[in-house]
């Protein structure tokens, strides 16, 4: 992100963990500005040039989306394009901009732009290789979703064996702080017929030139039968040896998909998920285990119900968490709907009950557009109530949206909340967006 940041974190003894910070340098703003202008020009060009195109026989597609929002003053420009001429190429850019938003450390006269995604993926028509370069989200095997400036190559053998290598610089912190911060790794996976994948992986990560993570992992996702699916992954930390994370899920559904049940378990080692350059990793690992079940039931054509319950370990104690949620569509097409949810959490010091109500109310519809009203309300009632924190933390929002069939959408909302941090917070939000994809058939 942005702000004054990196020097603040340069502590005595050069204790700098900057790479994982969420702040950025001013210089970055200047460098990003050119990228923003270029992207906007390209986007505008595409918008204008494509107005005259028809859905003719073109193996190319271009999509553009523009977002602008007030309070906080942020915007997005999204451009996607692909071509299926040799080689197959997919390109996408997602650029965020903010101005005078104190929530993000920007004073009134400050603005910044941040490219979240600028990536190009090249694929040969036979599907033997995929190569992605640029800024993107990497998540494969043992690697938890990581925002990366770098590359990812996948090679596919006819035996359904996949080889992956990846590497780059994690996108966190400012340019200065990211010096010598990098990661690299690989994965080998084997397809199990048409039933799933099984893989093993390895990656390491350096933080300010020092080893901060080194993990091996295994993963699989298998469709055991048409009604039964299983998937799991685990990762083992090598720097501070021990289990870093295990996730597993088994789900079964009826043929008509009206009923789906799932058993799940997660076990995490917080100190091994931290970068090993943090002092807190030398403390004992409290561990965190969560296991439970989830049930989805389409009780009626317009009524969906979810029920979830889990036992959870935290801070050396056991507790439980669960919710019941219902969604009622008010028409057959699902244009209108009402949602209700009751949630309870009772784990360690986290003890609260929450109620959430939301609705989508279609107000007007014709062949050119729709108008809808979206009220949303939530209240959290903590078990421990003090005069300082208050007895309940309500939050509410009323949004109105007009959507045009050409891709324009205008939405505005009023939002109010009260919680333990702010006695009252009222704000207005507005958003203008434009979304369109041009493509054709070959």
């Amino acid at each position: 992100m942005h702000g004054e940041s990196s020097s603040r974190r340069k502590a005595p003894e050069h204790v700098d963990h900057g790479p994982k910070s969420g702040t950025g340098a001013r210089g970055k703003i200047r460098s990003a500005r050119a990228g923003w202008i270029l992207a906007a020009a390209v986007g505008l060009g595409l918008l204008l040039s494509s107005q005259s195109s028809t859905a003719a026989a073109q193996p190319h597609s271009v999509g553009a989306e523009l977002w602008g929002q007030l309070d906080p003053n942020v915007g997005l420009i999204i451009i996607e394009g692909s071509t299926r001429k040799y080689p197959y190429v997919d390109a996408e850019a997602l650029i965020w901009g903010g101005a005078g938003a104190p929530q993000f450390g920007l004073r009134d006269n400050e603005f910044t732009f941040e490219p979240l995604v600028i990536s190009v993926k090249v694929r040969d028509p036979k599907g033997i290789s995929d190569t992605r370069l640029g800024r993107f989200i990497l998540g494969t095997g043992a690697v938890r979703a990581t925002h990366l400036d770098g590359g990812h190559i996948m090679l596919r053998a006819p035996s359904k064996t996949h080889f992956e290598v990846f590497g780059g610089v994690p996108v966190e912190g400012d340019i200065e702080g990211r010096r010598n911060d990098w990661m690299a790794g690989g994965r080998i996976s084997q397809g199990l017929g048409n039933r799933g994948m099984l893989g093993v992986s390895y990656y390491n990560r350096y933080n300010y030139g020092q080893r901060s993570d080194e993990e091996v992992g295994a993963d699989f996702a298998v469709r055991v039968a048409h009604w039964l699916d299983m998937s799991a992954k685990f990762s083992w930390e090598i720097v501070n040896p021990g289990l870093a994370e295990v996730l597993g899920t088994i789900s079964a559904q009826t043929k008509n998909r009206k009923l789906r049940g799932e058993l799940f378990a997660t076990k995490r080692s917080p100190i091994r998920l931290l970068q090993q350059t943090s002092l807190f990793t030398v403390l004992g690992d409290p561990g965190a285990l969560k296991t439970g079940a989830n049930l989805f039931w389409r009780a009626a054509p317009r009524l969906d119900l979810w029920l979830e319950g889990a036992a959870q370990e935290a801070q050396d104690t056991w507790g439980w968490t669960g919710f019941l949620r219902g969604l009622l569509r008010t028409d057959d097409e699902g244009k209108g709907s009402i949602l209700g949810e009751l949630r309870r959490q009772q784990v360690a010091v986290s003890k609260w009950t929450g109620i959430r109500l939301a609705a989508v109310i279609p107000l007007y519809e014709d062949h050119q557009g729709t108008v809808g009203l979206m009220p949303e309300f939530e209240i959290v009632i903590p078990d421990v109530r003090t005069p300082e924190t208050g007895n309940a933390w309500p939050w509410g929002r009323l949004a109105l949206r007009w959507a045009h069939e050409k891709g324009w959408s205008l939405a505005a909302a009023a939002e109010a909340s009260s919680n333990q941090y702010q006695r009252i917070d009222v704000r207005g939000l507005a958003r203008l967006s434009y979304q369109r994809t041009w493509h054709g058939k070959q």
């Binding site: 963990h17 997005l76 501070n240 969604l327």
Partner: protein
């Protein structure tokens, strides 16, 4: 009198049940059903009688579904004045066909030119199950050698815009239940399958950790959207972090917490803030020193304010020969270099 009350109650109950049935979709306003293809086939009615012109259709153009006028050519005395397709034929199947016409690269005319003149050769299900009239993959692959493309998730040869086509995935990638929790392990195991429909922007909406583009903020007009950080998440974020240790640092670093807490003036690095800790939080050896057990059961809570430069606070005491003693648990081991690497060098000066 009692009977009258009972009957009245029954009538009200029945009315309520009827209203509920309608609301729940059990009693639909327009109750569509599968089209009676089988009955027409048995009657010997040629497909082209209703789907006239379909053989000449390329990749674009009309769908060639029969209109009410076509139906009444034979059914001269319709039982209902409404449009026939309101009830005969599923609306969802028509919608799927419209989406396919728009987003699928397919030409009936080319198949006819290639000698495939029998409709049921591909539409095998129309004689038994009109709900599945659309051709399935195995039927296509019976003639077309697409196994390679199938294996390598190369769908673009036929599916011009798979997300736009709104083709729902099968089995283990059904996005039902609590897919928000499930999707991570699925994506890690078979991410290239996800990319057949999803692009990076959808990952970055939540996992692009540098700036907030989370759907609950930018798509505030879609309250039904499930997201990890719902609106109002801020009011319970500290409790969530305490209840599920490690969940936050899967995406965020502890310094992400410090950044925000510092900006709001509630971190350990803010010089003007008050001490949020209770008395006896820390003291000389022998005192209660509540911070020790607290740090061991929830080290990430400490890290959310004291990471980075704040860690120096710890090593003032927890240093070799210092009053805090050894903070390592029994069996602790690490492959870090004690002399050069953080955090070892903070305490192990000179490798001691």
């Amino acid at each position: 009198m009692r009977n009258v009350l009972a009957i009245t109650a029954l009538i009200i109950l029945a009315g309520f049940a009827g209203a509920c049935a309608k609301m729940l979709g059990l009693e639909q306003e327009k109750e569509d059903r599968s089209f009676e293809h089988r009955a027409h086939v048995i009657e010997g009615i040629n497909c082209l009688r209703c789907h006239a012109g379909i053989k000449e259709t390329g990749e674009t153009g009309p769908l060639h579904f029969p209109s009410t006028a076509d139906c009444v050519e034979c059914h001269q005395d319709p039982h209902d004045p409404s449009t026939c397709s309101d009830c005969h034929g599923r609306a969802r199947n028509r919608h799927a066909a419209e989406m396919a016409r728009k987003h699928l690269r397919f030409s009936h005319a080319e198949h006819v030119e290639a000698g495939v003149t029998e409709c049921v050769r591909c539409h095998v299900n129309v004689t038994v199950d009109s709900d599945r009239a659309r051709v399935q993959h195995p039927t296509c692959f019976g003639c077309h050698a697409h196994k390679g493309q199938w294996d390598t998730r190369d769908c673009g040869g036929c599916h011009v815009d798979l997300p736009g086509e709104m083709a729902r995935p099968e089995s283990h990638v059904i996005h039902d239940g609590n897919f928000l929790r499930e999707h991570g392990v699925q994506a890690n195991a078979q991410g290239d399958l996800c990319t057949t429909c999803h692009t990076q922007r959808q990952c970055a909406a939540c996992h692009g950790v540098t700036v907030p583009t989370i759907p609950s903020r930018l798509k505030f007009d879609q309250p039904m959207r499930d997201t990890m950080h719902r609106a109002n998440f801020i009011s319970v974020h500290d409790q969530q972090a305490a209840a599920d240790p490690g969940a936050c640092v899967v995406c965020h670093s502890e310094l992400f917490c410090v950044d925000c807490h510092t900006r709001l003036g509630i971190s350990g690095q803010n010089p003007v803030r008050g001490n949020p800790h209770p008395p006896e939080w820390s003291g000389p050896p022998g005192s209660s020193n509540l911070h020790g057990p607290a740090a061991r059961v929830d080290p990430l809570s400490c890290a959310s304010c004291h990471s980075g430069a704040g860690e120096m606070l710890c090593v003032n005491c927890h240093v070799v020969g210092g009053p805090g003693g050894n903070p390592h648990p029994p069996g602790f081991s690490s492959r870090l270099d004690k002399v050069n690497d953080l955090p070892c060098r903070l305490c192990h000066v000179g490798g001691l």
